[in-house]
């Protein structure tokens, strides 16, 4: 992956982008247990696969979602967050 497609700016060099990890639903801190919260804070799905991830195009500060195969280093899709994380 050397080029990434920003939903706002189109294809750009990957060095312009910032990676912010997999999209993960946050449990409600007021109602979840300590164990659930620790799981959310620390644990990750580290196995390879196609993942939905947060990325940011830094020059334009554009946050979006990328679907990426973390074994092949191929971006399948990029799109704006639709409130369905």
């Amino acid at each position: 992956m050397k080029i990434m497609t920003c939903p706002l700016n189109g294809p750009r060099p990957v060095s312009e982008f910032f990676y912010w990890g997999e999209v993960r639903p946050m449990p409600d801190p007021d109602t979840c247990t300590d164990a659930e919260w620790a799981d959310y804070v620390f644990n990750r799905n580290g196995a390879p696969g196609v993942k939905r991830e947060w990325w940011c195009h830094t020059p334009s500060n554009t946050w979006f979602i990328a679907e990426r195969d973390t074994e092949k280093d191929v971006v399948l899709k990029t799109y704006f967050y639709q409130g369905d994380a």
């Binding site: 620790a38 644990n43 074994e71």
Partner: protein, 413 residues
């Protein structure tokens, strides 16, 4: 010696295995199955056989011996860490390293060079002082030195680093060393092999049989093995194995790249590290400059290398050593680093009975090879974590009791 050679001359078949015995078949059961024939896995096998008399052990390796991060690191050995847990643990490792060549009867090219961690900012000097005090408290040779000491040890350095990152001082760690990394895996492998451990290369683990929360066996590409104890020592492949036993951990994988230059005459004796410039450099016994930088910026389960890395690293390298501008880069490669949030490893027992982890070794695992083998062998035999690794248990995260070692990572990641 000549008589021994004669035996080879007169034999039609090679009279003895060069390093390892080849086993045609897996046995149906073993007392311990170790996944991963890198330095850590083989060291654990070695100490199980040598110190605990547990010899019905097999080591499974998907590729070849030492082909993972054992053969991909930049071979630096040091113990100037930040937390008491880390300093005690790595110091024991350095002590073990010093006798390994003799134990194995194999030259590991262990070379004591001295290790400078350069500080370019007041904040970095402060962290160096902190580390030096913790180190000294636990008897580790470590001190803060001024720029002149750096210049004396490495006269070719530009102390101003091209004017934008002047060196204010350094943490000097006299025991800092380098060693030939693949020989470490071979030495442990041969020692284990001679004591009855079976090493099976080209054998992939496809699944782990867990029944009622206990390990019962391992499914491999060459058949099923029954066992009650499995040690997972697979670095960047750890999350794949964890998925098989359904254990959740904070481990995530980023590639770490490194490169070597063409061989040049010896000019650099010590190991130099700059956290701010994201550079570490030493000169190997062959004259190559061995260089590394920080982690790749995003998760990836592959060992591809990039031009970005070479451009970034060389530009910082030239800030420190402008005269290297004519030296060519010979090759580059990457390893998959199993990172943790606190930059400390995850070792010991897991929620699955009989499944043990030696993982989370990220970018700092090579130097710990001997002590990991020793402490994991102890943990497997006694089913309780060795006292040196209690600070590295998996359950520290559920208690929010992290072992913050990031300040001692070689470069800021």
């Amino acid at each position: 010696m000549p008589w021994r050679l004669l035996r080879f001359a007169l034999n039609r078949k090679h009279p003895e295995p060069r390093m390892f015995t080849h086993h045609d078949k897996l046995k149906s059961s073993y007392d311990v199955v170790i996944i991963g024939a890198g330095g850590h896995g083989l060291a654990a096998a070695y100490y199980l056989a040598a110190e605990h008399g547990v010899k019905n052990v097999c080591v499974l390796e998907k590729g070849y011996i030492g082909g993972g991060n054992t053969g991909r690191n930049t071979t630096i050995i040091r113990s100037n860490y930040l937390t008491p847990e880390g300093v005690k643990f790595y110091d024991e490792s350095v002590n073990l390293w010093q006798d390994l060549s003799r134990d194995f009867d194999l030259n590991l090219f262990y070379a004591n060079r001295g290790h400078f961690t350069l500080a370019h900012t007041d904040a970095a000097v402060r962290t160096m002082r902190w580390r030096a005090e913790v180190n000294k408290h636990y008897g580790v040779d470590s001190e803060v030195v001024g720029p002149e000491a750096v210049k004396e040890a490495a006269p070719m350095i530009d102390l101003s680093c091209a004017g934008h990152a002047p060196i204010l001082g350094a943490l000097y760690h006299a025991p800092g060393s380098v060693a030939r990394h693949d020989a470490v895996a071979w030495g442990y492998g041969r020692g284990a092999d001679q004591r009855g451990v079976e090493i099976h290369q080209q054998t992939e683990v496809l699944g782990i049989d867990v029944q009622g929360g206990k390990v019962k066996g391992v499914n491999t590409s060459r058949g099923y093995i029954s066992t009650n104890k499995v040690l997972c020592a697979v670095a960047g492949s750890t999350p794949r194995i964890l998925k098989m036993v359904d254990v959740r951990t904070p481990i995530y994988i980023h590639p770490l790249q490194a490169m070597v230059s063409e061989p040049v005459k010896p000019w650099l004796d010590p190991i130099l590290v700059s956290g701010s410039l994201h550079v570490y450099i030493s000169q190997s016994a062959r004259g190559e400059l061995v260089m590394g930088a920080s982690l790749d910026p995003y998760e990836l389960h592959a060992t591809r290398s990039t031009l970005d890395f070479v451009e970034g690293l060389t530009s910082h390298m030239l800030d420190m050593f402008p005269f290297l501008s004519n030296v060519k880069v010979m090759r580059q490669w990457a390893g998959m680093a199993d990172m943790t949030p606190d930059f400390a490893p995850i070792m010991g027992k897991t929620p699955v009975e009989g499944f043990y982890l030696d993982s989370g070794w990220g970018t700092w695992g090579f130097k710990a090879t001997p002590v990991c083998g020793k402490t994991m062998a102890h943990t497997l035999v006694n089913d309780t974590p060795h006292p040196l690794i209690t600070g590295f248990s998996l359950d520290r995260f559920s208690h929010y009791a992290l072992t913050g070692e990031k300040g001692a990572a070689s470069v800021g990641h």
